[in-house]
Subunit: 167 residues, 2 copies
Amino acid sequence: MEGSGRDSGNALLFLTDEQLRKGIEAMFFAYRGFTADPDRILAGMAYGRAHHRAVHFIHRSPGTTVNNLLAILGVTKQSLNRVLRALVEDGLVRNEVGRRDKRERHLYLTEAGEDLERRLSDAQRDRMRTAYRAAGPEAVTGFRQVLEAMMDGEMRKRYDALKELKG
Amino acid sequence: MEGSGRDSGNALLFLTDEQLRKGIEAMFFAYRGFTADPDRILAGMAYGRAHHRAVHFIHRSPGTTVNNLLAILGVTKQSLNRVLRALVEDGLVRNEVGRRDKRERHLYLTEAGEDLERRLSDAQRDRMRTAYRAAGPEAVTGFRQVLEAMMDGEMRKRYDALKELKG
DNA sequence: ATAATACGTCAGCTTTGTTGACATTCCAAG
DNA sequence: CTTGGAATGTCAACAAAGCTGACGTATTAT
């Protein structure tokens, strides 16, 4: 039970097409796992992944505006509005007219919203934690490095902006 | 090379909720980048991500059956059939009745199919390569370790099965 | 002979994205 | 104060890609 391929021969072996393909497939299958648990929770209710994302980022940046959320999620306002309307109607999200700029709507989770967020992120964090623990701290560092290098320019900015908030 | 583990205080810092949240968000934004380039290519044609996935796995395992593909992609046959029909009609995928079991249809890419596959995977590989190069070989190892630990059981099996093919 | 498997297909539904058009509210510049 | 543009909300129509359920047809297995 041995080395399972230490790439020690060629220093650039990790850049071969084969290695890249493996990375691509790993990304595909892993993303499945990444979303599987929240998806299961949401399946029963009338919600989907889009609702999860909205709830996540509102929880993360309470008081964020619709436009902000739009840019982070990278969808159209019509698409987001549908999701947001459902969440507001169901009492998970609260809508507050801006004090300084009354055109803006600031978004907050209600208690029920925070409850759902917690259920979803607990499930997702559990999987992430298990994966992190199995891989170890150095692997985690590498994981994050590769992911950050893989982001699109615009998304990378958003990610960095988020990092500054609580990071 | 073992040195990682036992910094008494912070040894488990990578398992805090904050660290896990960062990982979750990195995964979200990175997946955006991961699919962005193929999406752009496919946008013009009448194809989408589903066609890309089908083409990818047929290229990767030529002669695979419909059932096989179904299990790898984790979708219903109706959903896959819609995609496959379009690809066959457009002459990108070839359909061959099984020699041993005539119920099975073995799937192959035509030359046009291989062309598209190459265009798509070149784009995706380029981004992956850039990310790999920026992060370095050790980061890549960690990246893969975390991803593999994040997969669902069933998907993990499929991923491992694929690995053995060209491993 | 019968049951199970592999595949295709029809019909209908859901989620989540898209455009385009249009109204409202409001800030800010002239 | 008027007006242009920004931020938001909403309507309608549509598309991609998933789903369930039902049914048909070869083919293979029992």
